[in-house]
């Protein structure tokens, strides 16, 4: 099993994430963040989650970048602080420890594409077996989202509706 693509992707992800934080020109930072989303979409597609990759590419790299840019045009284009405040000691010490803990916990994950892992033996075989017969939908992700778990999707739609309403109320508050 070759890891070249994964290692390249991880290095690029870390570089773009760090670049988005460190760059002083905020428009540049937003565009680097869009690049980060595109790379993440590539990783999702590589892992087989094509629907997630599609959403990440369209929303993360497209729409979120646009929202950030429009916000920047309304506020300030540059980070004008000469020197950034030093990160707190808790973050400097705590985050590496947290990372090590996560790496330690990752050892207990089931192997990638393991058919006997917990997630693959509970309900997902039912969906995979019955989706075509019960819903005439070959894309199981769609049938799970829209039929088997339609209630969750309804609430998610309500969340997005609420976000739009909240933005309108906050930003148009003082307008005649």
């Amino acid at each position: 099993m070759t890891l070249t693509f994964e290692i390249l992707m991880l290095v690029l992800l870390i570089v773009t994430a760090a670049g988005a934080i460190l760059v002083k020109d905020l428009i540049g930072a937003v565009l680097i963040l869009g690049t980060y989303s595109f790379l993440l979409a590539l990783v999702w597609a590589w892992l087989g989650a094509v629907d997630v990759a599609f959403v990440e590419a369209v929303v993360g790299a497209g729409l979120a970048t646009l929202f950030f840019l429009l916000t920047l045009f309304g506020t300030a284009l540059k980070d004008t602080r000469i020197q950034r405040p030093a990160p707190p000691l808790l973050a400097v010490l705590g985050l590496p420890i947290l990372g090590l803990l996560l790496l330690y916990a990752a050892e207990d994950f089931p192997a990638f594409r393991d058919p006997g892992s917990q997630a693959s033996v509970h309900v997902s075989p039912e969906y995979l077996k019955n989706s075509l017969e019960q819903t005439e939908t070959t894309n199981v992700v769609t049938s799970v989202l829209m039929d088997y778990r339609a209630f969750d999707t309804l609430i998610e739609t309500a969340v997005i509706f609420t976000a739009g309403i909240a933005c309108t109320l906050l930003l148009r508050r003082n307008r005649e």
Partner: protein
Amino acid sequence: MIQSHDSVIVRTMSRILIPLMQLFAFYVLFFGQYGPGGGFVGGVMLGTSIILGILVFGPEASSYRLAQKVIHGDGVGLLIFAGVGGLCLIGGGEFLNYSSLEIPWVDSDAQRRSLGIVMTQVGVAVDIAVTAISIVLSLSLIEDREETNV
């Protein structure tokens, strides 16, 4: 803040790209049952195509007037989604159980579920597209307000 773009290249490319984006958005929306995509991505792309029209052609363009009309329909998508659930209740089943949808020319449960998925996806797409346009129009008001205050 929103004004039409000067560059001929940008305007010409947008004129070509916007219909293609909308076509692809509808393809993704209705093909989501058989390939990657679905209501969420289709709605985002539909909204983005109208936003591109707003940003490039400015407030005089038809897409801006369309957007200003469209944002009054915020919540219609949610209503479509929940309405399909309500139709299932009327048909005698559980909420969002599409097999009890009363559609006259459809006779198998699987086809009813398939149609229910399509209808709810349209609802999700409308909701997302309208929300995206509404947020962009709200964000574009920030600078206008500051200018009027000064």
